[in-house]
Point group: C2
Chain length 257, copies 2
């Protein structure tokens, strides 16, 4: 048997399952809210082209209006000033988008503190238990935050001091970018940076350091409870938008039982 | 070794390659042109939200305006009147989107005749050589049409009598929908129906019969020359647009050497 015939057999017998990590993309999908004077992305809207009517008697279809960085989406390097001339989303090698995935579970810490910051020490503790983060792997941070996805206010979790959502510290972002060689960094929250990260040094350090290193960002993931800490395979599928700084993405994990 | 650790090893050694079957999605991506009085989809456009300027000093991002049925895209059953109450794109089970793929090569016939129609006899001849089309497989028709993708006029190939592009006959569409149990039907052209199919009985029979049967359509594929006739695995990734009749999709094939 070959690798792929084994895979097809395992999909058929449900020994390998396809787990959808993608949030539904609709008008109520939460969108990042940056404070003035910064501009924000539009929410998703559909505009009917026809709906079994004179404009199309046998068919229904819509135009889509949305943002590159809306819902479950990939951040390409060219999104950030630290990688201005880096890859746009259409030139990412497909080999980077399919590979091993590891999951770091910080639910307990986030339950106590919505402003929880992931530090290098948490990643080192994970490695002490599970082994070194493999080169080319996707690293996903399981915060439990996707439980809030149906309620945009709870998901964005902002008060007069700004949003309170977990993310990596500047040190952890720098550590991942320079000490390991991951393909991408994924989160359950609206962006890869913590809610308070606009005030960090540098501002939005996950964007700054990870995109600078050519590492991709991946957001608004769900169903991370269905992934093992190691051993699953991720398939990350942004649209190949020509010159795009990112794209809404479908994200599947292959999980073996 | 487990199935997935074998897969990760084979990806690492390039014994399994990720082949991108997706056309780039940009302003010059060809869009279906239906004749009046029918309405058509908008072409893709990007609208800057910020670009390293006052609206976002360290970041660049865009809003996206496009169509559900633009570029490489998936047709969900709810796109067509024959499956009005069928699945929208967001409720397709992920297990249907990852599976075996077979490729039927009709390049020679299409080179002689851009209006070439795939008939049940071509599919039966393929099965005589390669075995029965597996249940749950994606069936892709290799016409060579993607060679025209850089030139929208050549790709749409319309004259005063309408578009001249290959596709299935009504008989072939009915045969696939009723005699076999494929997950989806994919093509290199702008839509799953032939250019002349608006005049067939029923109009657009591939849409009519395949979507009625709960089979998905998949369009504007490229790089089919890199797939074997059997043995590859397809990963089809439409965005889970809530209530959507289809979606631009990323399509990867895993191919073993
Ligand atoms: N944090 C940000 C600050 C500015 C622009 C975008 C972001 C994102 O999170 C994003 O990429 O979704
Ligand atoms: N042929 C059509 C007729 C009407 C509406 C759409 C189509 C498509 O091809 C499509 O789904 O892209």
């Amino acid at each position: 048997m070959s690798v792929l015939s084994d895979l097809v057999a395992a999909l058929g017998s449900a020994d390998v399952e396809v787990v959808d990590l993608t949030a539904p993309l609709g008008p109520s999908t939460p969108v990042l809210q940056l404070p003035p004077p910064f501009a924000n992305t539009i929410p998703l809207s559909l505009e009917a082209v026809s709906a079994f009517d004179d404009a199309g008697p046998a068919w229904k279809w819509n135009n889509i209006h949305t943002g590159e960085h809306t819902g479950t989406h990939l951040d390409a390097p060219a999104h950030w000033i630290s990688a201005k001339d880096g890859e746009t989303v259409d030139v990412i090698p497909p080999s980077k988008l399919v590979g091993p995935v590891v999951v770091v579970d910080v639910r307990a810490q986030v339950a106590d503190d919505p402003d929880f910051l992931l530090e290098p020490a948490h990643l080192e503790a994970w490695e002490a238990e599970h082994g070194r983060i493999p080169d080319g792997a996707w690293l996903l941070v399981r915060t439990g935050w996707s439980a809030r996805q149906e309620d945009a206010a709870a998901f964005l979790n902002a008060d007069e001091n700004g949003p309170h959502t977990p993310g990596p510290s500047a040190q952890a972002a720098r550590w991942l970018a320079s000490e390991r060689t991951i393909a991408g960094f994924g989160v359950e929250t609206v962006g890869i940076d913590a809610g308070a990260a606009g005030g960090f040094e540098p501002p939005f350090p996950a964007h700054y350091f990870l995109l600078e290193a050519g590492t991709y960002g991946l957001t608004q993931l769900r169903n991370l409870d269905r992934l093992p800490a190691t051993g699953a395979v991720l398939v990350v599928s942004p649209l190949p938008i020509v010159g795009g700084t990112g794209s809404p993405a479908r994200v599947f994990a292959l999980v073996e039982r």
